[in-house]
């Protein structure tokens, strides 16, 4: 997939992806999130740090994520996890995006009219 197209498509759905990943795992740190996305999409989709951290910070500021810092291998590591509101919001946003993608699919798979 073209990288700039990929980035454009990713922009609107990045926060939902983060919420979904954290719904699945108790807590994750920045690098781990980028790697998980890469792994799940077999390298087709990459999240840049410049997009990831602002998205994480925004979700945290909105009260959907909470953080804890732990020292790992001599350095501090910041872990993100969902707050109670974050859990509710994650379910709702994932459902919304899923419904949107289904509708988008219907349009994209339009059969040529005879």
């Amino acid at each position: 997939m073209n990288n700039s197209n990929n980035a454009q498509l990713l922009k609107g759905s990045l926060s939902v992806m983060i919420l979904r990943l954290l719904e699945d795992r108790d807590r994750m740190y920045g690098y781990e999130i980028t790697q998980k996305v890469k792994e799940l999409t077999a390298g087709e989709m990459t999240i840049t740090e410049g997009a990831l951290y602002p998205a994480l910070h925004k979700l945290e500021a909105d009260g959907l994520l909470t953080t804890e810092t732990q020292v790992v291998e001599g350095r501090a590591r910041k872990y993100y996890s969902l707050t109670k509101t974050g859990h509710t919001e994650a379910a709702s946003r994932v459902a919304d995006l899923s419904a949107f993608l289904n509708n988008l699919n219907l349009v994209l798979n339009l059969k040529p009219s005879v």
């Binding site: 740190y29 920045g30 690098y31 840049t48 740090e49 410049g50 951290y53 602002p54 910070h57 925004k58 945290e60 500021a61 953080t67 810092t69 790992v72 291998e73 001599g74 350095r75 501090a76 590591r77 910041k78």
Partner: protein
């Protein structure tokens, strides 16, 4: 492959000196990311220097890292502004407004009974109280705190210190520069209004004290 303390210091140096990452919270997070990327590349056989160079580029180099920090600062500023509006709204309720008006009426009735000297001292005192409240913030904000608190202090300076000082100059200049006769008229006819305005200003200054005490999401040092 865990990095050594010296290698971590090198990466920290890059972030601080080449990308000018000043905020501890951002630095901590980016250092971990930078170190993890470097370690991952070192596992493929690259030396520390080569791996860190690759990781640096992967992070977006100085420009990309600065953009992350700029976003962090913008985010915190928004939170402070939102928080401050919330604090101010919580003050401006009917009991506060009625109480302020009653104090104004009381001052209006008491003023004719006081001497000019007492009034002048009292008025200067009242107008200086908000500044004293802000000075406390200045002391803690500029000398004792760092990181997110610096952003709070800059916000307070911009929206607090300047308006308070301008107000004081306006109030005090009237009777410091005028003749004693006009100063007397000013003090006796306008003291109640000035006192009410000072009380409002005091509430405004108090909102900053409350703001200093707020916890912001990135504050975990």
């Amino acid at each position: 492959m865990a990095l050594t303390t010296i290698q971590l210091k090198t990466l920290r140096y890059d972030l601080q000196e080449l990308a000018h990452i000043d905020y501890h919270d951002v630095l901590t997070e980016l250092l971990d990311h930078y170190a993890t990327l470097t370690e991952q590349k070192m596992e493929t056989g690259l030396s520390f220097e080569e791996a860190s160079r690759w990781a640096w580029a992967e992070l977006g180099s100085g420009k990309g890292l600065q953009a992350i920090q700029a976003d962090f600062v913008r985010n915190i500023r928004q939170q402070i502004r939102r928080q401050h509006m919330g604090v101010l709204k919580s003050y401006f309720r009917w009991p506060t407004i009625v109480l302020t008006a009653l104090v104004g009426v009381l001052v209006y009735l008491v003023v004719p009974m006081l001497s000019d000297r007492t009034l002048t001292i009292g008025l200067v005192g009242v107008t200086l109280v908000p500044l004293a409240a802000l000075l406390r913030g200045y002391w803690y904000g500029d000398h004792h705190r760092e990181n997110v608190d610096k952003i709070v202090w800059k916000y307070v300076y911009r929206v607090g210190v300047l308006p308070v000082n301008v107000f004081q100059i306006m109030v005090n200049a009237n009777f410091f520069s005028d003749s004693p006769a006009s100063a007397r008229v000013f003090l006796q006819t306008h003291t109640s209004v000035v006192t009410m305005l000072s009380l409002l200003l005091l509430i405004y200054a108090a909102s900053f004290i409350q703001l200093y005490q707020q916890k912001y999401v990135y504050k975990h040092v």
